[in-house]
């Protein structure tokens, strides 16, 4: 009798121990088809967006070369146009801190650290142009590279200069500024190329195959990324921080995105929101006609939460509406009427509990790794 019990306990315990560490389960025919979701997101949203960024950065590279060969105002304007096109695409890819992007060592902000930390630290750039000694791979230079650094280099005015162009022509460090410009562009291209190549060569299949329910499952990562990007990249960085929501004592106009170009902060915010909406609804990056495949909305509908899908999409629409009412140039908006910016923030904020509480609960994904025991 006792032996039977002991044997029984050992067998069951062995099963429980082995199965709890198991990562099996690749196709889920009867339940929700995660493979289809991950495939749609990878093939129709993430990879095309990164590839588009690659081609837009190539245009930035061409424009940079033309400008360096002939440092004219016209060529600088052409570079500015190329920069803006790439910056808009960036708003779509910034969500996906996955695979190679996650491995770049960008710290808390992930690969955003190498592309879009603002406000840019002008003193670092000027010092770099002057001394020629800098390393864009160190954390010190996270706020002196990527799109914000280009924004300053193309549109900003260096100390002692009178025009943006002067940096590259009459400034005593004009050679240093020119080299820095090239280095920033090269760094962005090389990092993005690594990310694209990794997706295409191997990470796509890893990503799609990993239908694990755990923390490291692809869906769980994607869910965390969309929530984080909405909260941090979009809500806080673009609207909240400039409006002075997180700090004591007034607005912070110098923290708006594209501070030196000025009249595009709204356009960039709207692109970021579109990127998040498209992921939520599974809309292909390249599609003109809003063709949608499997994504968060599909998954929620599968779980009979159409109400939540409607609610979240309504919140997105309200946010878009609020942003549309703002000035193209957020620094102007803040000086004209900062209350309107705060009001826009409140509307955008209202979607956060829907994503972080309701969607999280419905899909039961893990936000931030909490590894204690449960009840």
């Amino acid at each position: 009798m006792l032996k039977k019990i002991i044997l029984f306990v050992i067998v069951v315990a062995a099963i429980s121990c082995s199965s709890s560490d198991d990562n099996g389960g690749s196709n889920n025919d009867d339940g929700f088809d995660r493979t289809a979701l991950l495939t749609n997101v990878a093939d129709n949203i993430i990879i095309p967006a990164f590839q588009d960024l690659q081609s837009k950065l190539a245009s930035v590279d061409v424009a940079t070369t033309s400008f360096i060969n002939d440092k004219s105002t016209g060529n600088l304007d052409a570079l500015s146009d190329a920069w803006l096109e790439a910056y808009k695409v960036w708003q779509h890819v910034q969500i996906y801190n996955l695979g190679e992007a996650d491995n770049l060592g960008g710290g808390e902000r992930g690969f955003v650290s190498f592309f879009n930390i603002y406000p840019v630290t002008v003193a670092d750039i000027e010092n770099a142009a002057n001394t020629g000694s800098y390393d864009l791979n160190t954390a010190n230079y996270h706020d002196a590279q990527g799109f914000p650094a280009l924004d300053f280099l193309i549109h900003g005015i260096a100390t002692g200069d009178s025009l943006p162009l002067d940096k590259f022509t009459t400034n005593s460090d004009f050679e240093g500024f020119t080299t820095y410009l090239t280095d920033v562009v090269t760094q962005m291209i090389s990092l993005n190329t690594a990310i694209v190549n990794n997706w295409v060569s191997s990470y796509r299949s890893t990503f799609i195959a990993n239908t694990d329910s755990g923390l490291n499952g692809s869906f769980n990562k994607l869910a965390n990324d969309i929530v984080y990007s909405y909260e941090k990249d979009f809500r806080a960085q673009k609207i909240g921080i400039p409006a002075g929501i997180f700090s004591n004592g007034g607005t912070l106009p110098e923290t708006v995105e594209a501070f030196y170009k000025k009249d595009v902060s709204k356009e960039l915010s709207l692109e970021a929101l579109t990127g998040i909406e498209n992921l939520f609804n599974g809309i292909s990056y390249n599609s003109v006609s809003s063709v949608s495949g499997s994504s968060f909305s599909t998954y929620l509908e599968f779980l009979d939460r159409e109400d939540l899908v409607t609610e979240i999409n309504n919140q997105f629409a309200a946010g878009r509406n609020a942003i549309n009412g703002l000035n193209d140039d957020y620094t102007q908006q803040l000086s004209d009427n900062s209350i309107q910016m705060t009001a826009a923030y409140d509307i955008i904020q209202a979607a956060v509990p829907k994503l972080k509480v309701d969607m999280k609960q419905a899909l039961n994904f893990v936000i931030d790794y909490v590894d204690g025991d449960g009840d």
Partner: protein, 454 residues
């Protein structure tokens, strides 16, 4: 009646079940402490947080820096001494005190399981668990083969209480008629072999699991008590707890319960288990003089019996205290803890704190992760007592930074068992002015739904 009681208290029984229980308990606790330590949780849960959420009245219980490791070491050592039955009384009291201190340090980590361990170890302080097959008995050269029957029955009573109260708590409309929260939890376990893809998302399976869980909790103490059903009951215990272990991250608890329920078996089963241990100890060639065999007698029974009677009275009454509070228990959580309410809710919240200067009306929002660990933030976001304590912490913090006329408001949304999230705390109440007490917190907004049942 009184005569019967006296007769019962004088009845003796074989000491083996209690000895096996002591060994099992000690071993499980030692393993738990080692596991907790090796997973790095002492640092992560107690040393890294800048701030601890305290139980009302126990604000003085705090982690003690790196000495916290010493506290865990003491707790583990006490568990080892309990296991071998060496200086048992001192060991079990040390264990109870150190373990309870650890649990009181931060209520973020509250689990019914930990509370169970505290309660059980308190009870064990009064039991002669070292009477037989222990180092104490070996050194004293006296084996008490017979001990009072009630010393084993109280453990059964405690186990039965835990199960039955856990079962009663499941008698509510969410659990039984909506299969909540299992309907949320189970489908996300799709990657478990075999059943993951076939059962976990099926509606009928959620209901089957809810109802069988409820029936299991209510029936298992009785099935374990009756000899005819006992073996079947134990098989059920193993299946149930192992299944929960597979599905949910509940650590050592399933194993602790499996080992604990062995106490329901007859003494001859435990003698066989002890014989296995005797075989294992043989190579040590302990010089065993034939020990004296005596019957254990309590010298202080007159004090102990009333203490334990009071202890069980409190155990039986305390879980019902929630009826004294208005509104839905699951929503307000007033009277929720220490009541064996296990796995009843999938609750999540979002709390956005706003610091306002009441004079200038200037305000700013707080990033919770500047002050809390992600785990603390998660737990804080849907529990009113946490929200209040944190609001005071924030108020004090910003006051010390030189801010003036501080008001603390919170925008908080909570979703319960798959319902759409709704506002949780009155956003117009300055929490910095509210005080913690056992009274109802009238700044919790009402729940827009009804959950029927106990």
């Amino acid at each position: 009646m009184l005569k019967k009681l006296k007769l019962y208290l004088d009845t003796n029984t074989n000491a083996a079940p209690l000895a096996v229980f002591r060994i099992g308990f000690g071993a499980m606790m030692l393993a738990s402490i080692i596991r907790f330590w090796s997973l790095g949780w002492i640092d992560k849960l107690y040393l890294q947080p800048k701030f601890q959420f305290s139980y009302y009245g126990f604000q003085w219980v705090k982690p003690i820096g790196n000495y916290t490791y010493l506290l865990f070491a003491l707790c583990g050592l006490a568990a080892l001494f309990v296991l071998i039955g060496f200086k048992y009384r001192i060991a079990i009291i040390s264990f109870f005190l150190s373990f309870t201190y650890i649990e009181l340090m931060d209520k973020t980590t509250y689990l019914n399981h930990y509370y169970f361990i505290s309660v059980l170890s308190f009870l064990m302080c009064f039991l002669p668990a070292n009477a037989y097959f222990s180092v104490d008995a070996f050194l004293k050269k006296t084996h008490y083969k017979q001990i009072p029957k009630w010393t084993i029955d109280v453990i059964k009573l405690l186990l039965g209480t835990v199960y039955i109260y856990a079962g009663l708590a499941k008698l509510n409309s969410d659990w039984l008629f909506k299969a909540m929260p299992l309907k949320i939890w189970l489908p996300s376990k799709y990657d478990i072999p075999i059943i993951g893809e076939t059962l976990m998302h099926k509606d009928w399976f959620h209901f089957a699991m809810s109802w069988s869980g409820m029936l299991y909790d209510l029936a298992i103490p009785f099935l374990l008590l009756y000899k005819k059903t006992r073996t079947l009951a134990f098989v059920l215990v193993v299946i149930f707890h192992v299944f929960t272990r597979i599905l949910f991250p509940i650590g050592m608890f399933p194993y602790i319960m499996i080992v604990s329920t062995l106490i329901f078996f007859d003494a001859h089963v435990h003698e066989k288990i002890l014989n296995v241990f005797r075989q294992l100890l043989k190579p040590l060639k302990l010089k065993v003089e034939q020990p004296k065999t005596e019957t254990y007698r309590f010298s202080n029974r007159k004090i102990i019996i009333p203490i334990l009677a009071l202890f069980f009275a409190v155990q039986l009454v305390f879980p019902w205290r929630y009826v004294l509070y208005p509104n839905e228990l699951f929503w307000t959580e007033e009277g929720y803890r220490f009541s064996w309410r296990v796995m009843l809710m999938e609750k999540a919240g979002y709390a956005n704190f706003k610091i306002v200067n009441s004079e200038t009306k200037d305000f700013f929002y707080v990033d919770n992760l500047d002050f809390l660990t992600p785990f603390q933030e998660k737990q804080m976001s849907f529990q009113p007592d946490f929200i209040l304590e944190y609001a005071h912490y924030l108020g004090d913090h910003f006051k010390s930074q030189g801010n003036q006329n501080i008001q603390v408001f919170v925008d908080c949304f909570v979703a319960l068992n798959g319902r759409m999230s709704q506002p949780y705390i009155d956003p117009n109440v300055d929490l910095y002015q509210e005080k913690e007490s056992f009274k109802h917190k009238n700044w919790i907004l009402p729940f827009n739904d009804e959950i029927k049942g106990l």
